[in-house]
Amino acid sequence: MRQVIGLIVLLVLVVFLVSGVLLIHPFGYPDASDMDDYIIENAQEETGSNNVVAAVLFDYRGLDTLGEATILFTAVTGVLLLLRTLKRKEESS
């Protein structure tokens, strides 16, 4: 039973992945300058920010900045966790 379910899930995944590969945009679409032209033309009106770089960072590509902030959070958590554990091990030994 589990093997049948696994096979069905695998088939669905394969169909979706292969169709995704087949339906992907041709290489180089949209033209290299289309996106920059749009952002340079409309960023000031759409976001009200005079600094177009900030507009891209926090508005058009905000999800990317969220990931960056998550990386920072993870790094800080890791450093604090690591140093605290080392300290405790030194004390107990």
Binding site: Q44, T47, G48, N51, F58, V76, L80, L83
Partner: protein, 153 residues
């Protein structure tokens, strides 16, 4: 702890470093810079204090618990601002056109106005809080660890 000359100069300089860092954060939507860069400037001031004074002295005023609370609140403000525009799309700039930071500058090059940008200045502040608290906590923890001090819970 370094000599008294170094400590006095660091005491005077930290004010200017803090003001410059806050300027870079607050003008992130007008001039080059933003939350990450301004936060790094302020943390460089913290590192200067750490070098001039000992980590033992700095531990009295910068508590690691407070720093982690500030960092988490910065992250939460950022995510809440991103979710606030979910009515249209994630990370939608819903404040443009409203009285709060809603100004729209003239197209093309210009000096800019501080009262523009929608959620971008608020997000810059949130990211600035996050970077200041996070990097300060890391620097302080490493300094305390290398000097053999107890890391404050």
């Amino acid at each position: 702890m370094l000599s008294k000359i170094v400590r006095t100069v660091a005491n005077q300089l930290i004010l200017f470093i803090l003001v410059f860092g806050l300027y870079v954060i607050a003008h992130g939507h007008i001039t080059p810079g933003g939350g990450f860069q301004g936060g790094a400037v302020i943390v460089s001031g913290v590192v200067m204090l750490l070098v001039a004074f000992s980590s033992h002295e700095l531990k009295k005023s910068l508590r690691e618990r407070t720093l982690s609370i500030v960092e988490s609140s910065g992250a939460i403000i950022f995510a809440v601002l991103a979710f606030a525009g979910i009515g249209t799309v994630f990370f939608y700039n819903f404040l443009v056109g409203t009285p709060i930071f809603g100004g729209v500058p003239d197209p093309g090059p210009g000096p800019g106005n501080i009262w523009t940008g929608g959620v971008i200045p608020l997000m810059n502040f949130a990211v600035g809080l996050k970077v200041i608290a996070g990097l300060s906590a890391v620097v302080l923890a490493i300094a305390l660890f290398s000097s053999g001090e107890e890391v404050e819970e």
